[in-house]
Symmetry: C2
Subunit: 203 residues, 2 copies
Amino acid sequence: MRLFDGGRAPNPRRARIFLAEKELNIPLVPIDMGALGHRSDEIQSLNPLQRLPVLELDDGTVITESVAICRYFEELHPEPPLFGEGPLGKALVEMWNRRVEFHFLGPVSTAFRHTHPAMKQWEVPQIPEWGEANRPKAVEFMSLLDQQLATNTFIAGNRFSIADITLLVSVDFLKPARITMPDELINLRRWHEAVSSRPSAKA
Amino acid sequence: MRLFDGGRAPNPRRARIFLAEKELNIPLVPIDMGALGHRSDEIQSLNPLQRLPVLELDDGTVITESVAICRYFEELHPEPPLFGEGPLGKALVEMWNRRVEFHFLGPVSTAFRHTHPAMKQWEVPQIPEWGEANRPKAVEFMSLLDQQLATNTFIAGNRFSIADITLLVSVDFLKPARITMPDELINLRRWHEAVSSRPSAKA
């Protein structure tokens, strides 16, 4: 089994943090996305969508999409549970993971890809007006996150979950996207400091 | 328990089809999205993101995001399994569901929201150039779908799953988005005919 990894980009990092939380060591194959390594023939043959990470099993079966890769490991190694417990717990982790993906990681990535000069060859056509339109969406969503974290230790409740991993890689992507977290969001800041200090955050 | 429903839009329909496949009857509260009913104080208080569907449990707990709502019912009523079986089966359903969401439903919805005159009050700012840029992405992804369906009855393998439901609502949204399925995609057409003839497709 080997995991084709894409370095600092949010999705590859998401999978690595998940594996670190599970204390699993999976052989990594580093791919240099800066040199467009994810568009090589090798990656294209594994994932026609040319996205990373990609998990290749020993029998050649390929799993793509970071959350699908994480779910595979959750099923094989249920402890600690990172997708929630019980019907309601699992639903709330799914809900928050998706809220963060669609309403925060999406806008942050879009701002980055549609305004950063280095992204011109990735995002064709690059539409700066669309990138700019996403910055206020990301800022607005942070208020909802702050509210939720006023009464919950972690984003989906009182237990660390994959939704926190998705949120961490998104918050850490604010800087390249040139979006600032408002000072008054003290709950979000408290959460970010706590989650960043977990050993898995270095993965 | 009641499900605030949004009519013909893809995500509310996804939840209804899922419930029909499970043969579950959940009381529906119809919300007229055409009249911006999803922006009412009632919906805003249940879901600050003003999106439908919204599931409200008897104790007042709220679950949003259609896939999170579906997962809640999958956990409560595992038969028939619609999120896959076993670690690999579950991972492949998650993978295909996400591939379809990010690379097909996303572009189709974006084309609709950023080019349709009626969407001007929904999507602010509406950027027609961005809408147009998404049409070829959706068309290109249909070739990958067709390839997968050349050797699989359903999109994630030989068993119907939530990934087929996501794909069905996406294909049926091509028309309002003014995107045409290429004639030569015979496997995708065969799949669409088969899935559309299931009783759940009318939900």
